[in-house]
Structures are given as structure tokens and as C-alpha cells.
């Protein structure tokens, strides 16, 4: 499985020279499966540049949305394959008793927020509630489960052969819970992330910042790492960077996280931090990373 990060920022795009290394685009991760099929996790602004990198003759595209906050769907309207008649795009996301996935996304891709409507997109696009049971896309078995965030939000576990990746970019499992001591059956996201080869997880705040943001749906370093430790993740990629966090700030945050992980008894090499355009290729255990320097592990 190959993983490429196209947007690691949370909340709102944060461009600027002080953000160059980690990038300013919001959540979007590309997975290339062993079958060659592409899966896209979330459609933040990073999906725009991802779209330009895809082969023009790639017809079938699957997008898994964790939730519909703007930082996870904002790029959809600017995703180049949406404007090709040959594209067949399937979008999966959380269900809601209130309205269909298409109707909820159309609130964004419609006037006055957008110059085009969903029905005007030339591609063949379909919207699907993420199934309650595992389903298959190409070589991948996918499971979606509700996790603790504000509003209906999913995490995903993608298994390709004996390799598993868990993607929970927005998650506050420690809210009102003693993560360190709580029985695992009471930990949000536990089933999804258990023994994952790679856990891509929310780490929006430092521990010092968190008290001012409790209940906002995101995790501080300690909660992220405690969660990673409880689920037995083999490697963790810190994700969903706060828009105020500059490159140098994130370097410090990464160092703190690695120290904290070491204090928990782990190997600091297991803790990476997501940077735009970074790539990881792994089979079971992550192996060579063509953009290793940008992973900053």
C-alpha cells in the first residue's frame, strides 16, 4: 500500500512561507492499493493538486469522506476529475437521518457558495452512505465506524492483504474519558485502529493548548499517543495540524511527541508527522519512503 499526503492541515487552509514544509492544504490522503486502484481519504483542499497528478485516463475514483466539515470537502468542487465526462467518482460518507449524503454535500456545491451545482458536474458521480459492514474496493477491505468528533463522523480502516491503515483525522477520544485506564471496549475508535500498521490520527493541539479547545473534537499530543499506545498501532502519523502551527512549531510538536512516546515505552521512530506530498510505502511494516525527509520521522 502506498500512502501519499496531499493535505495535512485542519480547520482551514493555511498557506504562507512559514507553512511551506508541512503545507497549508486541508485533509486529503491518497492510497494506492496493491491492485493499483486509488482510494482518496477526504476531499480537503489537498484533493485539488492530487487531481492534477492522477492519470488523465483514470476513470474510476473512490473518495471516502470522514465527515462533511468544510476542511474535509472544500476541495471537491476543484477536483479536476469532476470536470471530465469520463470520470466515474464514487463518494462514501457518514449517513444522516436528516438528509442524504448528496443533499448535504450539495449545500456546499450550490449557489450562492458555488458557481456550479452537483447536477451540473460532467462526471458520473454517485454518493453512498458508508455501509455498516465491511465492504470491498479493489484489493481493499474497508470498515467505517462512528467516532468521537463534533457531528456525525467516521473513521476508516483499510486492509490490503496483511497491511492495515487506520485513518481518523478528527478525533477526541479522551473527551470526558480516562484514556489511559479506561477499558478498551469504551474507547472510541478502538476497533478501527487496533494493531494497525499505520495510524493516521488527529493531533491538532499541544497539551498546553488543549484546555482552551476541549470539546472541539480534536486531540492533544498526550491523548493521541495514549490512544496509539492503547490500540497497539505499529506506526502513527500525526495529522490535522492546527492552522496556526508553523513549520518550526510543528517540528517542536513532533519532537515533543516522540519524547512522550518514548516515555510511554515506545520507539520514537514509530511517530511521524504528516507533511504535504510525503509518501510512505509499506507492506505490513512501512518500508522505503521516497519522500522520507518530508515525513520527518
Amino acid at each position: 500500500m502506498k500512502v501519499r499526503v496531499w493535505g495535512a492541515r485542519g480547520s482551514v487552509p493555511a498557506p504562507g512561507p512559514e507553512m511551506n514544509r508541512y503545507g497549508g492544504n486541508t485533509s486529503c490522503v491518497e492510497l494506492t492499493l496493491s491492485s493499483g486502484e486509488t482510494l482518496i481519504l477526504d476531499a480537503g483542499t489537498g484533493i485539488r493538486t492530487l487531481g492534477f497528478s492522477l492519470p488523465p485516463d483514470l476513470e474510476r475514483i473512490n473518495i471516502l469522506l470522514t465527515h462533511l466539515h468544510l476542511d474535509h470537502i472544500q476541495g471537491l468542487m476543484f477536483f479536476p476529475p469532476c470536470f471530465r465526462a469520463e470520470s466515474n467518482i464514487r463518494i462514501f460518507g457518514p449517513s444522516s437521518p436528516e438528509a442524504s449524503l448528496e443533499a448535504r454535500i450539495a449545500r456546499y456545491i450550490s449557489a450562492p457558495l458555488s458557481p456550479v451545482e452537483v447536477r451540473e458536474l460532467p462526471c458520473d458521480v454517485s454518493f453512498h452512505d458508508a455501509p455498516a459492514t465491511e465492504w470491498q474496493i479493489g484489493a481493499a477491505t474497508i470498515r467505517a465506524e462512528a467516532i468521537t468528533h463534533r457531528g456525525p463522523t467516521l473513521g476508516y480502516r483499510i486492509t490490503d492483504g496483511d497491511t492495515s491503515l487506520c485513518y481518523i483525522p478528527d478525533h477526541e477520544p479522551g473527551l470526558g474519558a480516562d484514556l489511559e485506564n479506561l477499558n478498551e471496549e469504551w474507547i472510541s475508535g478502538y476497533n478501527l485502529a487496533r494493531d494497525a500498521d499505520l495510524l493516521i490520527h488527529d493531533c491538532q493541539y499541544t497539551d498546553e493548548e488543549y484546555p482552551g479547545h476541549e470539546g472541539w473534537g480534536h486531540s492533544p499530543i498526550t491523548a493521541t499517543l495514549t490512544f496509539a499506545s492503547r490500540v497497539g498501532a505499529k506506526r502513527t502519523l500525526l495529522f490535522h495540524h492546527d492552522p496556526l502551527h508553523t513549520d518550526s512549531f510543528l517540528d517542536d510538536l513532533h519532537r515533543s511527541a516522540r519524547r512522550c512516546w518514548e516515555d510511554l515505552g515506545g520507539n520514537p521512530e514509530q511517530i511521524g508527522i504528516a507533511a504535504e506530498r510525503a509518501e510512505l510505502t509499506f507492506e505490513g511494516q512501512p518500508s522505503a519512503a521516497p519522500a522520507e525527509a518530508r515525513i520527518a520521522v
Binding site: 457518514p94 449517513s95 444522516s96 437521518p97 455498516a132 465506524e145 462512528a146 467516532i147 468521537t148 456525525p152 473527551l175 470526558g176 474519558a177 477499558n183 478498551e184 471496549e185 469504551w186 474507547i187 472510541s188 478502538y190 476497533n191
Partner: protein
């Protein structure tokens, strides 16, 4: 001991109950007592950590409830049962027995918990002593959990 991860709505309900002083139980769809908070622990005389999860028969045997004549209340009359069966809130008053044998008259409101993905997964039962002074102590958190 642990089992499969609970549905998110039960996890969040437990987190909520942990954060409030109003005594409350969290019960699974099959009647298993999954959790009770410190407020409830104060009233029944034992913290949850000492008791753990209990099946329906066990927790009704330990704590009641009882009717006005001190007879065990039929399970199908409990607000909890009505909430689980009918899928709507239910309320009643009855007596429970704490770990030291003392009986408390309580009012209880049960609310079904229905998850977006998993459907009816259980109920939350919030209760408080009918005695005003005791109720004030409990609901304002001025009580201690016996240990």
C-alpha cells in the same frame, strides 16, 4: 475483562455520566448494567469500580427496586424496561436498597439511546432521592462515594 467496542452513543453516554453529579445508570439493550457514575455510587453505597458490569438479574437482586409494600417491583414496570421496550422516555418512583441495606425512595427517568448506526443500544436512567435534602446533596455533588 473486555468485549467488543461499545457503540459510540454508549461511549459518549458514559463519558457524559462520568462528568455529571446527577446519579445515573447506563444500561445495555438486554438490561445489562454497563456503568453507573459517582453520584449513583454515593446513593447505592458502592463505587462502580467495585461492582463492574452486572446482568439484569444480578443488579435487580442487589439494589431492587421495590414497591411501596417492600415487594420486588416487576421488571416490566420499571421505567428502564418501558424505555427499552417502547423506545420513549419513562418515569416512576420506587425504592432501592444500598449496599449497607438502607432503603432510599427515588424518582427515576429512563431515556432510550438510539444510535445512528446501531439502532437501539440501551438506555440511560437518571435518578435522584425523593427526600429533598438528600436530593440536594446528591445533585450538587456534596456527597462522598463509599469505598
Amino acid at each position: 475483562m473486555s468485549g467488543p467496542q461499545k457503540p459510540l452513543e454508549l461511549i459518549l453516554a458514559r463519558n457524559l455520566l462520568t462528568s455529571v453529579t446527577t446519579p445515573a445508570f447506563l444500561v445495555a439493550r438486554d438490561g445489562t448494567l454497563l456503568f453507573y457514575n459517582e453520584g449513583a455510587g454515593a446513593l447505592i453505597g458502592r463505587p462502580f469500580e467495585d461492582i463492574g458490569q452486572l446482568d439484569l438479574d444480578e443488579w435487580t437482586r442487589r439494589f431492587g427496586p421495590f414497591d411501596d409494600d417492600d415487594e420486588p417491583l416487576p421488571f416490566d414496570r420499571l421505567p428502564l424496561t418501558r424505555a427499552l421496550r417502547e423506545g420513549r422516555p419513562a418515569h416512576d418512583e420506587f425504592t432501592v436498597r444500598s449496599a449497607d441495606g438502607v432503603k432510599h425512595r427515588i424518582a427515576a427517568s429512563a431515556m432510550p439511546i438510539v444510535g445512528a448506526a446501531s439502532g437501539a443500544s440501551g438506555a440511560m436512567v437518571i435518578f435522584w432521592p425523593v427526600d429533598e435534602n438528600q436530593a440536594r446533596e446528591v445533585t450538587t455533588g456534596r456527597h462522598e462515594v463509599a469505598s
